[in-house]
């Protein structure tokens, strides 16, 4: 089944207030998840930046192994919540609090870390992910923060490269994994 890709992670309204929204003691390392995440990040960075064992060919050529470069634009940690509608309290309509709202607050407090969250669902109706009026956070209700819209009906060839016969397109290129994985629906 195709899934709806949701990003319920609240974002700052570009027109609204740009000052920090959460107290520093929550966004800082006094917040236990932030402290834990900081340790995880340091550990991951150390593993990534530590030179790996040189390959046999590098030994033969007396080359030094190259450490991969970290980009500030690429998240180091990706969290994926499958069937994320189970985090909501859709059957209890009077309840303001849900696992999702708590998770949103925690993730927002970690927003300065190189982390990205994906919420996937096969449900067609997801008001608690997309409707500001249904959200427990007053900052979202008044518009200081806004919810990202879900990605639905992604279609086919969304990520495909545009073919140009003027450039050097070859069978080697169009039969490579890097080309064919971009055709069809994103798996």
């Amino acid at each position: 089944m195709n899934k709806i890709l949701l990003t319920p992670f609240p974002q700052k309204d570009v027109i609204g207030d740009t000052s920090p929204i959460l107290p520093k003691d929550i966004g800082g390392y006094d917040f236990p998840p932030a402290s834990s995440f900081h340790k995880l990040l340091e550990s991951l960075k150390a593993r990534i930046e530590r030179p790996s064992k040189p390959s046999p060919s590098q030994v033969k050529k007396k080359e030094k192994p190259q450490a991969p470069q970290l980009s500030s634009k690429v998240p180091i940690v990706v969290l994926v919540f499958d069937e994320a509608h189970t985090l909501t309290n859709q059957e209890q309509k009077d309840e303001n609090w849900s696992n999702l709202s708590a998770l949103q607050r925690a993730l927002h407090a970690l927003s300065h870390f190189p982390m990205f969250s994906l919420f996937l669902s096969t449900r067609a109706k997801m008001p608690q992910f997309t409707s500001a009026s249904d959200d427990a956070s007053s900052k979202i209700t008044v518009g200081a923060l806004k919810l990202s819209e879900p990605f639905t009906d992604l279609g086919f060839d969304t990520l495909a490269k545009k073919v140009s016969f003027n450039s050097c397109w070859t069978l080697g290129f169009v039969t490579h994994d890097s080309h064919i994985v971009h055709l069809g629906r994103p798996l």
Partner: protein, 293 residues
Amino acid sequence: MFAVGKLLNDDPNTQEFTEHQKLACLSQRFPIQFNSTTYISHASEMKQVEEHLRVCLKVDANLQSMETVSPSEPLLSEAAYVVMARKSFQPLTTFKSILEGFAIHQGDRGEFLVLLLLTLARDQTVGCPGKNGHPKHRFFSFPSFVYGNLFKASTSLLLTQSTVSALKMLMQDFPNATMHFNHFIKLHGFSSVNKKLLLLLMTRGAGVLCANSQASIDAINVFLISGTELQTDNLGVVLYQIKNNADYKDLPEPRLFDSMDPYDLKILEAGDKPISLIRIFFALASHCWQQAI
């Protein structure tokens, strides 16, 4: 292997397949259409959508019928190739059991059998998949595909002397020709086939099954005359005509080949230069089993 697991909805290394998994694999190679009229056949079609990546295009208002397809997704076609290469798959037996076991459109003139033969010839030409599921190269030599796999050199006793000469001439004329396809898609219009579209379809590894009632041709493949550069002036076309009627015998009839004219068929426009063209006629109901070119 990830795509294999998604297509089978099972362990990607499994060696035993359900009929639904087999149908899912063949559906990724050529455009099998459901012809569901009963509750049981609807259930099979829905299962393909729910578990095997078939796509639902439309459901009628009372939820009694649906229109589904396996769209052109080359990664899933490669996954199906990996599965079909396993000994337990037995493509021909599987094809027969699927035609008999599911409410699917069997074709009017044996076109699905021919598409299966072309697909198997392609798979043999690229060779078996390696441990990572890749063949050595996904594109392949066009002469080897035609003479070696589609028309087997080992069955040369069944080929007339003139046919063997013609095939050898093909190898001399196109020694560096290359080809790439791993699945076929069905077109639904007569006017959409032209050389640019065919080259675009090649970039996704798609051959063509022509629209119903298309005059003179039933399927199309393309190849590159020399090397691997995708340019319209490096394009060659293979046109197939398929008949499952005993009136068509094993002896070639020139008028049938003449009717497969790329200008009449609008593959080329009036001012275009001629292109390299191979025309193949499948007379499937011929009583005499012989290959003639």
